[in-house]
Amino acid sequence: MKRKTPIGALLFAFLLLSTLLTLPSAHAGWYTPPTEKLKFPMMVLSWDDWSVHSGEAIAEQLKKVGISIEVVPTDDSAMYPRLYDRDYGIEEMSYGYSAYPSHMFYRFHSSQDCAHCGQDWSFRNATIDAVINQMLITTDKEKARTLMWQVEQMAAENVPYVPLFVSDVYHAFRKEWTGYTVMPAGPISYLNWLTLPNIYSTAGKKDFIIAFNSEPETFSPMAATTGRSLLYSMSVYDTLLAYDEKLVPVPWMTTGLPDFSSDGKTMTFHLKPDLKWHDGKSVTAKDVIFTFQYIVDQSAVGASAGEVIKYFDSGEAPDDLTAVIHLKEPYVWAAEAFGTQYIIPEHIWKDTTLIPKYDWDQTLVESSPKIAVGSGPFMFSSWVPGEYIKLVKNPNWWMTGHPLIDTLIFRKIDTESARILAIQKGEVDTERYSVEPAFVDQVKTNPNLVVAHTVDQWDYVLAFNNKSPPFDDVWVRRAIAYAIDRNEVVKRGALGFGTVTTGYCPGAFFPFWSNPNVLTYPYDPDKANKMLDEQGYLDIDGDGIRELKSVVADWESQQQQKQQAQTTQYMTLAAIAAIVIIAALYLVYRRRKKA
């Protein structure tokens, strides 16, 4: 009986040990900057094949300019903390675009250089900060665009990271469906307001079924943060504005784009008359103001809610159709950020809360669909957990006659192979995401399917820790930018399913904002080599890898010293020799004289 104790003690020891390991957040510094050669480990995201294979292609290309990269596939649980701690030198993975280029602020502004912030690359530049600050408060889009071009140009000059490519969308539909809009991020996405109200079947089918790989994590438009829950929210709830196929804002629940006061701090939306909630009550400007106030009071986490929380000061509804919003300061994308919030009905939400007191025993967010009363094109009908969500057409929607389908179903199918089979068989009509690369050819050749092709919002970049030598040297970053053959990276990394990006605000995704004359770094390994040579990164030991500038400088001064020492030696020798010769001559002369 006494033998039992060791096991218990062992378990206890294990527990104690594991706890101790956890306490100092288990972090001890992974990366050490190189001290001799241009040789670094490069983190790539281990579960993302594209990140890994692009990294391998880049490593091979950089080898040609004397830079040695070791690709280190890293799990995100290890990668992100390292990025936050700037415990890395170089990394490659995908980030993402929003519908408007707010990433130009998040990725380049000094205020975003912090853990859990917008940028992982410790990039600080006072000049860029000043222009971004100016751009952020410019409500005139044309003027803002001129400033944006400057930002993009300056970013290109400083190369805080190297843009590589954006992934492509290959979206498969059953061929009888038409009327969808192909635009950046895909024909079915939460940035696409146009497809679901306008899609219809030439075969007269009235049910449109979309296969999802997982359920929306919430039915609350105030808590939705993922593509699937945002798509649900967008179907049931309406927004003040929407985007056209070029991601330019267009009126939606409103009669036009919002008016701005001359100081840019007051924004006025005018609602369309006779808008109705799904329960029959009227949508008024009060609901609009309520929505923004709710987002601020409850710290909602929905799409661009952060910007509403940051800029919303107060709001008022002088009449039922006019919503006046006072901003804390002008904001270039105020119309987009406020205009794309899902408007919720005050009469249903007014006594609800989103954030509980901190005790873990309340539902944090109302995630059941029972409050799913919106004013959007579709109405909630039924939900079978783990199976499907069924929405039906809202017959009273403001766009008369639309949607053209009667039923919209989100069906959960866990694996891509089963989803593709289901589309081919006709059990579903399309899927939420792009077809996975391995299936694209199969889908393209199927006579019953049509494939829509566009760019997605995930952009792959090669990023530097801009503070860590040698990446603190802009010439090294520039040389690397020249040394990368992006076409080859797309071909090898993304199997060709990507679109090369040369700028920081690429025209393929942001046709309005992109700078057409921005500095680019076309593939030119010779130029890269020359640049590194000129900057003093030379391969002095002949192993094909360049040495650090400081090492080269040391080596050069050593060489010089050696030479100097040698010269002194020669001089001394010469002097001694001269003295000896003179002495010898003198002796000979004296002997002769004696003789």
Partner: protein
């Protein structure tokens, strides 16, 4: 007997307590950052991320989190899920998911067990016959075949080409049922694929153990006695050999109870069967600690309870076990 009960009960409770404590720290050892995976969306501003971190209590010291976890557990609260934005873990686990898993696993384990025992017995009886060779090969093949591959093949052939089973899910999308029987029929129709897959993958294991165990029994003296008594082959086989050989199977079943609630991740994923196995997988991917903790606590309770009951049952049934 009372002493035995108290002793076993106390040790079961102690194990449970240890499991619960371990359960909390197990997931914290992983160097994961649930906020980045849960709030992976790039549009979520840093301020919002902070709010979420606070909502989930991840900004609290580990010991505070641990005390809250224990405190909540004592009142039967499993916490709230990260990935499902604050839905209570209890409502996620004890819903359709555990029902689906229980039905699927229960039926396939039961059927596989019955088939395994029967053909195992026959194969052992007719050792080295064609039947024996065939069933051994068959069970080795099905046992070592990757379950997901078998599942995908079944979907491809029966779901896609023949169209006799549905490709995914547990019920037909958007269907309304006029009576419960129709619902049951639809449900069973959807269960065919995963049921066949799992049954096939389980049979081999049970079959091989049963066959070996019968072969062992055949060497026992009482088999000779039975033969000497002039009993028929059938009686010897099913009354004496099979009954005694089934004892190891009983303890095997006690272990299999875990699967009843734990589910089969691969099969559930391939057939989009909405169960606990799939939930575990999702929770791991999303670093959803509360859900994982919840599943593990439930499993720990089930396993410990099952073992406790098995101990008592053994003591009652088998006179050789003393206490």
């Amino acid at each position: 007997m009372r002493d035995y009960l108290v002793k076993r009960g106390a040790s079961a409770l102690a194990t449970l307590a240890l499991a619960i404590v371990l359960n909390f720290f197990l997931f914290r050892i992983m160097p994961g950052d649930p906020t980045r995976t849960v709030v992976g969306d790039f549009r979520v501003a840093p301020e919002v991320r902070k709010v979420l971190v606070h909502q989930f209590g991840l900004d609290q010291p580990l010991w505070t989190q641990f005390l809250l976890y224990i405190q909540n557990l004592l009142v039967g609260n499993l916490g709230v899920s990260f990935q499902y934005r604050g839905t209570p873990v209890a409502s996620i686990i004890f819903g359709r998911r555990i029902f689906n898993t229980f039905i699927l696993m229960g039926s396939s384990i039961a059927v596989a067990l019955v088939i395994g025992i029967i053909i195992g017995t026959i194969a052992a009886w007719k050792r080295e016959s064609k039947f024996d060779v065939f069933t051994v090969i068959f069970s080795l093949v099905t046992y070592s075949m990757p379950v997901f591959w078998l599942g995908m093949m079944i979907i491809l052939v029966f779901g896609y080409y023949l169209g006799s089973i549905p490709i995914a899910g547990t019920i037909t999308v958007g269907m309304t049922y006029s009576n419960p029987l129709e619902y049951v029929a639809d449900y069973l129709h959807h269960m065919t694929g995963p049921f066949v897959t799992l049954t096939l993958s389980f049979i081999g294991y049970y079959f091989l153990i049963m066959r070996d165990s019968i072969l062992d029994v055949f060497t026992e003296d009482y088999m000779l006695t039975a033969k000497a008594k002039g009993l028929s082959n059938r009686k010897i086989l099913f009354r004496h050999a099979m009954r005694n050989a089934t004892l190891p199977m009983v303890s095997l079943v006690a272990v299999e109870v875990t699967y009843l609630f734990g589910g089969a991740t691969m099969t559930e994923t391939v057939f989009s069967w909405y169960g606990i196995g799939r939930l575990t997988y999702e929770a791991v991917v999303m670093a959803d600690f509360p859900v994982l903790q919840g599943i593990f606590v439930v499993m720990a309770v089930v396993v410990i309870a099952a073992n406790f009951l098995a101990d008592i049952a053994y003591a009652l049934l088998d006179p050789r076990i003393r206490y």
